[in-house]
Symmetry: C2
Subunit: 495 residues, 2 copies
């Protein structure tokens, strides 16, 4: 690669002759890894002009660097970083004169608060290297309709769509995507909403964040399910609102446990997260009635409704919401892939208008090209086909998983007659008094990834013996061996 | 299109016979625009099974709808939405039984605060339909390297990159993009930073938002330039921090005007926004010294450094920051396109770690496919070529614009010897006492779009006679006629 002359600057504070400074500059570039072996240096004429020094100064610096083996001269072709130049251990440091003195600030004092150290557990970036990845919520390349996705992306990259892809929407969204969600996606959940009642978000997590930011502060109270999606708890912690933590039973969130002073109720009626229980219709009605009685808003996180097999999906809570009290969250992360970062919020127009203004303030809008690609993928029918294919495969994996669990006598949490149809995970119970954290860690060395359940529970009474088995990224053929290793680890831990 | 049976739900609260309910359901779908002319209804057998009613009930409902001209029967092919079905005026309402009762909540009471009605002016979504769009910050399809962008996007869509594109990065970024920015982009600004000191953001606006969120609250004070980028003021208004509003002069932000109790200084040294003045080196040093004296953090928004022609870009303020006090914001919105929504933050590792945690909380990470596409576009050299091509064209437009302005005697704001090289806009001054708002509005009917300057100033002392002329989206050939119309409007307004 030719090194651009634009990346060369003399430090106005530097000591020493100009020639020495130029030598240091280049040596530092090589030692820091910025300049790689074989990279071509600018001509002495160009560099001299750029730095405002005489050409002979640059030539002398280059000659000296050749003598020191940093550079090699190739006749008329110019100067290159030498094959035998000192090699940096790995790319890292900037030159000493900046590095030593940098970060003299006490950031604790400058930051208004800390966002690190929340409840959200770190998942391994290298989960694909596990042989038995019972991980939840990642994409499986074997299930994804790569060919048609590429075609849709290409179409969205076409000249015709240039404006849609590249323009600044300010606070708006791709009208094609909004219309498709309004006309085709939401009706599948029994929801009828106009485009003005829909906001595209940067994934469902962003939708949750916008909602919490708009509806909660330190004087207000949120009711959350226990266990629940840990990142929701992190988000609410930053809003500093009061929390009403409500244990779920075998029909999900029990409405009669919700306190009178609750302002916002967060719930996952289709598949309670993480237990996967489905809330029956009678309880849904009771929940809405309770919310009406206490004047609370309900936030329905419908994070994986498409993954319903075994039984037809029940209509969303939002579909029986007669007074505009329910804010509905949808996501394409589970049905397409999480790296897409695309979800949506559905609610009353007055709420969506505010959510749109807040989103515009924070990030303007999700990238246009991605919105348009998804609009095509949906409207050409590829999405529905993908969902059907995925549901078939998940159902097969689920059956294999249930068999393996039964064979090894592992305990699936009892969820009543409503639980456990569809979804992409099982909620499991280890032996009481066993901490699944160390078990999960020891399993990693055997190539088995499982998620300990403790982080889903609200402190301080976190039970330690639950765990989650995701099956959206593990082939059915590997499930029995993975479960055998898990069963062995549980036996060992029990001894 | 075949209408999916999954979008049909009976309302459990509905009155009337099952047959009447089905008829209403379908009629409402047609009247609301959800079902279009020619759409095929599910077979009576399928719909009956799905709704749990007898097949004859569905058949009778269909027959009745045919009689009423909502549907037409095509022999054995089934039932379709009729050509002569009642047509909705435009797609809008949901069925009455939901619509009438929806939004019975007093959202004023439920929302913690309002985000609408800020200082950010609304720009027209249809600016491409203007013949003379002196709009700022939009993409020009004639300048964009569409072919290579498509190739990079395709490569990033390849099987090899599946994991990078689709995976959930949690709080991380694409390592390829981070490394490229670290090794090649930042060195052009004289900045040497490790990947741990860089965070990818959803555009520069998102970077500003994250920074404000981390460093400011109602007890702290921010110094901002006057005039400045209005959205920054909106963001700070929501942080409710104190403001020190400092008028810029012909060398940008004057350090000696910054109050002792300032915590964060926002500045745009390369091209002051919107005046375009470049801060000279002596003042940059004075600004850093002042920040050190009062213990303030400096936020450098380097929003369009690539658009420097006429003179080499000066190194960033961050490049002479010896103690890690400067937080640097970069963006690809101006050099690639704003719909990309990709920018980056550079700062001390302790700061970036917190910004990363906050970003993860709000939205996890910018979409993987977009990060990877940009990484390819950068590393294959297309970006540099694009910048050079764009700079050439902008320079030509600038010359045409300056000529037209001179010819018509319009007034460019005097910016001292340092101002006005490069960039993609001119900062203009109309006749004193003239409000450019109505002038800009009246020009729209003649196909001319200009931006009134008032929104850039902090209330209450907004001067009304400034305006901005962007030239990033208007061909050079149209500039003279557009400026002639502007000059005419100014003359008319002066009469």
């Amino acid at each position: 690669m030719a090194l651009s002359v634009d990346t060369f600057f003399l430090n106005p504070e530097a000591q020493g002759t100009l020639q020495a400074q130029i030598q240091e500059l280049i040596a530092a570039g090589i030692l820091s890894g910025r300049f790689g072996v074989g990279d071509k240096l600018p001509s002495s004429r160009k560099l001299a002009k750029h730095l405002g020094v005489s050409r002979i100064t640059v030539t002398l610096a280059y000659t000296e660097l050749v003598a020191n083996d940093y550079l090699s001269a190739r006749g008329r072709s110019g100067y290159f970083v030498s094959d035998s130049a000192p090699v940096p251990p790995s790319y890292a440091p900037a030159p000493q004169h900046l590095r030593d003195s940098a970060d003299q600030l006490d950031w604790q004092r400058h930051l208004t608060r800390s966002f690190t150290g929340g409840d959200t557990p770190r998942k391994p970036q290298d989960w694909r290297s596990y042989r038995y990845p019972f991980i939840y919520g990642q994409a499986d390349e074997t299930l994804f309709d790569h060919a048609n996705w590429r075609l849709c992306a290409l179409r969205a990259l076409g000249q015709k769509d240039f404006a849609a892809m590249t323009g600044d929407y300010f606070d708006q969204d791709d009208p094609l995507l909004l219309e498709y969600i309004s006309r085709h996606t939401l009706p599948r959940r029994g929801i009828l909403a106009r485009p003005e009642e829909i906001l595209i978000t940067l994934g469902a997590q962003n939708a949750l964040w916008l909602t919490s930011e708009l509806l909660l502060n330190r004087n207000r109270k949120a009711a959350i399910e226990d266990p629940c999606y840990y990142t929701l708890r992190d988000q609410l912690a930053h809003r500093r609102c009061k929390l009403d933590i409500i244990p779920v039973d075998d029909a999900g969130l029990p409405p009669d446990q919700i306190g009178d002073d609750t302002d916002v109720i967060f719930t996952t009626p289709s598949h309670q997260s993480p237990t996967t229980v489905t809330m029956p219709m009678a309880r849904r009605k009771a929940l809405l009635a309770r919310a009406r009685d206490i004047g609370a808003v309900v936030v329905e996180d419908d994070y994986e409704f498409e993954m319903s097999f075994g039984a037809a999906p029940s209509p969303a809570l939002k579909s029986i919401d007669a007074d505009g009290r329910v804010i509905y969250l949808g996501s394409f992360s589970k049905s397409l892939f999480p790296g897409l970062r695309l979800g949506y919020l559905v609610g009353s127009e007055a709420f969506i208008r505010q959510a749109r203004a807040l989103r515009a303030n924070v990030l303007r809008h999700p990238p246009g090209h991605i919105q348009r690609t998804v609009a095509y993928f949906l409207s050409l029918g590829h999405y529905d086909a993908q969902i059907r294919r995925t549901a078939r495969v998940l159902q097969e994996r689920r059956e294999v998983l249930e068999d393996a669990i039964a064979k090894h006598g592992l305990t699936k949490v009892r969820l009543g007659k409503h639980g456990a149809s569809g979804g992409s995970s099982l909620w499991m119970e280890g032996p009481a008094h066993l901490d699944m954290g160390p078990v999960a860690r020891s399993l990693r060395s055997k190539g088995v990834f499982i998620e300990p359940g403790a982080p889903f529970f609200s402190a301080p009474h976190q039970p330690l013996h639950y765990y989650r088995l995701g099956y959206s990224s593990i082939p059915a053929s590997r499930i029995p061996a993975g479960i055998a290793l898990l069963a062995e680890a549980l036996r060992d831990a029990g001894d």
